[in-house]
């Protein structure tokens, strides 16, 4: 969730105090410099002396010989070894939740951070078990603890899967077992958000969408910053998706478009 208060508190705390260097420290440094020699730059000159024709010839033969040996060693390798695409940076899909009578969100053992890749990747939530397609350059950070289903976790909370773009867009996802209807589930979450963050209880935009073919709703509201969220319930699990793009304070159609793109790449377990 947007949290101007957190940002403000961190900024105030971080910028507190004086950065004026004590004059005695500078004096001590300048005194030390007087007796401290600089290191010599030992860059190797390009050539010590001009090459003779015979030296050039010898160097050429040596290069050809080295290239030949390298080529031979490559062609003698077992077919397949070392040839072909390098291992994918995509995360290993985690085991699905064990089917049971009651919906559960048992954590799987994998909690590896997905590092950004040049190509799109897929993030599988170790805790909430959905998968989401991430555009190139996005990073995913799995939740460390399950969401209690009542609070309104902010971005970077330990109970959310956080996915960040390289340009500052932040999205986060949480899920919990629920017996509520989708409308009630979202209304309760909006109420919790209004209590914990500077958000209105009623979203400015509330529209029907589908997430992985299931009926969901997309909400847009201003909480000091534009926040887009969406909810869906599937197999007794309620999922909430959020997105914001600090420090923008106004509605940005591109961010909503990005949110829709992310939602289109969600697969529920």
């Amino acid at each position: 969730m947007s949290d101007r208060t957190f940002d403000h508190a961190v900024r105030e705390w971080l910028e507190a105090g004086s950065d004026g260097t004590p004059p005695a420290a500078i004096d001590a440094v300048l005194l030390a410099v007087k007796t401290t020699p600089q290191e010599r730059d030992l860059r190797i000159p390009r050539r010590f002396s001009p090459m003779t024709t015979s030296m050039r010839l010898a160097a050429g033969i040596a290069i050809v010989a080295i290239a030949g040996v390298a080529l031979l060693s490559l062609t003698n390798k077992t077919p397949g070894a070392g040839i072909g695409p390098s291992p994918s940076a995509q995360p290993t899909p985690t085991a699905a939740a064990t089917p049971s009578a009651a919906p559960s969100l048992a954590p799987s053992p994998t909690t590896t951070t997905v590092q950004p890749t040049a190509a799109p990747s897929v993030f599988t939530s170790p805790l909430y078990h959905y998968t989401i397609n991430l555009p190139a350059g996005w990073t995913a950070y799995p939740a460390l603890a399950p969401w209690d289903g009542k609070s309104s976790p902010a971005n970077f909370s330990s109970d959310v899967d956080q996915v960040n773009s390289s340009t500052g867009t932040q999205a986060w996802v949480m899920a919990t077992p629920t017996t509520k209807t989708l409308a009630k589930f979202l209304a309760d979450q909006n109420a919790a958000a209004a209590l914990e963050h500077p958000c209105p209880v009623t979203p400015e935009i509330d529209e029907a969408i589908t997430i992985d073919g299931k009926p969901g709703r997309l909400n847009v509201k201003h909480c000091g910053i534009l926040v887009v969220n969406a909810g869906v319930i599937d197999k007794g699990i309620g999922y909430l998706f959020y997105l914001q793009h600090p420090p923008e304070d106004t509605s940005n159609p591109e961010d909503i478009g990005m949110f829709r793109t992310l939602l289109a790449g969600v697969k529920l377990p």
Partner: protein, 184 residues
């Protein structure tokens, strides 16, 4: 940054280096103080870093990169000196528990205490990324380049630092709410 000053200092001009020190020392001290959370230790680190900068200046190839290069040296000086010097300053504050009308002040103090403790519990490499990004204002790509680490590593370190501070801030918020309810 004065390019000519850097070039002259690089070629051994002590007066040019003295002028350079006056230009950069506050920003380098600010970085060290924020990473280490101890002005005394930051002062020691700054002195070591500045002498290192003087010694190694002839190796600096691109004078336009002086500032980033200096940031890197000061961060590494923090890494090098912090484990050896455990004289962390004790933070002692008198909290105004009896002042019912000072909830904002109380909140600010509790917030800062919680943030301070959470930050001090972070590894130095996470602190460095957080300070370079939020205090110096470097984009993450530039932070990664300055510290000589991959972009993804810089992102992860910033994320985990922010997550820890967020958790501390939320704990402070709860603490303040409980107090307000008691006073109500």
């Amino acid at each position: 940054m004065d390019r000519d000053l850097v070039e002259r200092a690089r070629s051994g001009d002590q007066q040019a280096f003295a002028d350079l020190v006056h230009q950069v020392s506050d920003s380098l001290f600010g970085i060290a103080r924020r990473i280490l959370r101890d002005p005394g230790l930051a002062e020691d680190v700054l002195q070591n870093a500045l002498v290192t900068i003087w010694r190694k200046l002839p190796h600096l190839r691109d004078v336009d990169r002086f500032e980033a290069w200096a940031f890197r040296i000061v961060v590494h000086a923090c890494y090098a000196d912090a484990p050896r010097n455990r004289r962390w300053a004790a933070v002692v504050r008198v909290l105004p528990f009896d002042r019912a009308d000072a909830s904002d002040d109380y909140r600010t103090i509790v917030d800062r205490d919680e943030l301070e403790q959470a930050f001090r519990a972070l590894p130095l490499d996470q602190r460095a990324v957080f300070v370079l990004h939020h205090h110096v204002g470097l984009p993450l790509v530039a932070v990664a380049e300055t510290l000589g680490i991959p972009d993804g590593t810089a992102r992860s370190r910033l994320h985990y630092a922010t997550r820890a501070l967020r958790a501390a801030f939320e704990a402070a918020d709860k603490q303040a709410r409980v107090r307000e309810e008691r006073l109500a």
